[in-house]
Amino acid sequence: MSAASLYAADVVALARKDLRLELRARDTLPAMLLFVVSTLVVFHFALPAGTGADAAFGLLWIAIVFTALLGLARAWAPEREGGALDGLVLAPCDRSAIWLGKTLAVLIFLMTAELVAVPAFALFFAPIDLVAVAGVVLASVGICAVGSLLAAMAAASRGREVILPLLFLPLAIPLVVGGVGAGISPEGAAYLSFLGLYDLVFAILAWATFEYVVTE
């Protein structure tokens, strides 16, 4: 097998491990689904009547970001509880594969939550077009790429749950701008390309630096 296909096999195996764990334990995904729907309902009461679709769109993004945080906070919990991260770091695979596998798994969780959140948003608040959906997808990639690295950092610190949102939110601001812009601006394409660029830059950065975060 070539190096690239070996790498891909490592990534798939790691992501599949996370998905299988989730299927058996159901620790994260049901919580994310319930959270995102509850948040949307709370927003209905937080918004004054007749506020309009634009304001509601901003709230969809708050719901998505905090739902992602909920998933990310638990992203490295299985490894930490089982003491498995040391084993993974010692395994004869490229360490960035650990990051990519985790990013894929978290992305699948988040996309599943959005599969519920976006139709629910369309039902409760305002219709959503294709550009807005593309914005959701692109921003999710960025959220998971950056978030899974930051979650690994937070897992190494003492105040894990508290510190992750602090690390993550400043980095999520450009994603929120891109996502909201794709939803409500007439020039949605510019925002989509911005999101794509952000994903590319930060995915490369996270891919290149993950090794330093997990090695002792």
């Binding site: 950092m153 003492r158 400043p170 601001i173 911005f194 930060f202 950065l205 975060v213 090695t215």
Partner: protein, 226 residues
């Protein structure tokens, strides 16, 4: 040895230059036709902002070197640059806020992209300190902080563009601060102030690094003695 001896020289030069900068900014530079005396804060606000960027950049550079070649020394240096950057970033927010009050009548304006960018960076680097102080000391802490510092320099252009894009839908009217072209005296005054502030940052950085090294040596000494 020579590097330790040069610090008082730098500090003295900085003190003189800062005094000169105050004189130049308040007395020598011509008064702005549109904004009057309040425009003079420009001579401090903009150099402080540029210095903050410089500190963040140097902090990330030291972080990159740390990941690249290692060395505990670089961890302290990267941390200290970022510490200085945060101090100057906070000063940028304060001076910018005063300038906004003087020229637009409000303490805070989301229309000022530079100020919003500094707010984002301020939050980001505050989180850096939270992260740093919640990890046990050691090589791993240095590397994790270095990675976060690198994300910071990537965040600066990303936020810059994001804020530019966001002002389209959040704040449709764009403030235009383009007054008359800067005259030679104005530009000269600006350069003096810029040099003074940059040198100030450097002296503060050197002082803090020396302090941290003394702390570390003292701790080692205590461990040896006990």
């Amino acid at each position: 040895m020579s590097s330790r001896n040069s610090l008082p020289l730098f500090a003295g030069t900085t003190a003189v230059l800062l005094g000169l900068a105050v004189v130049v900014a308040l007395l020598v530079a011509p008064e702005d036709a549109n904004q009057g005396v309040s425009q003079r804060i420009f001579y401090f606000h903009v150099p402080i902002a540029l210095t903050a960027y410089l500190c963040f950049g140097l902090g990330a550079w030291k972080a990159l070197r740390l990941l690249w070649v290692g060395g505990e020394r670089r961890d302290v240096e990267s941390y200290t640059w970022i510490h200085q950057g945060t101090i100057f970033g906070t000063l940028t927010l304060i001076t910018g806020s005063i300038w906004a009050k003087a020229s637009w009548g409000v303490w805070w304006s989301w229309g000022s992209n530079q100020l919003v960018l500094f707010l984002v960076l301020f939050l980001f680097y505050c989180a850096y300190f939270m992260l740093r102080f919640s990890i046990d000391e050691g090589a791993r802490r240095g590397r994790i902080c270095a990675v976060y510092a690198l994300f910071g320099v990537a965040l600066i252009p990303a936020s810059f563009f994001a804020i530019r894009l966001a002002s389209d839908f959040i704040h449709p009217t764009v403030f235009s601060r383009e007054g008359p072209q800067m005259t030679g005296t104005m530009f000269g005054s600006f350069l003096v102030c810029w040099a003074a502030i940059t040198l100030l940052a450097y002296v503060m950085y050197r002082t803090e690094v020396v302090g941290k090294r003394i702390d570390a040596s003292l701790r080692e000494l205590r461990e040896v003695l006990s």
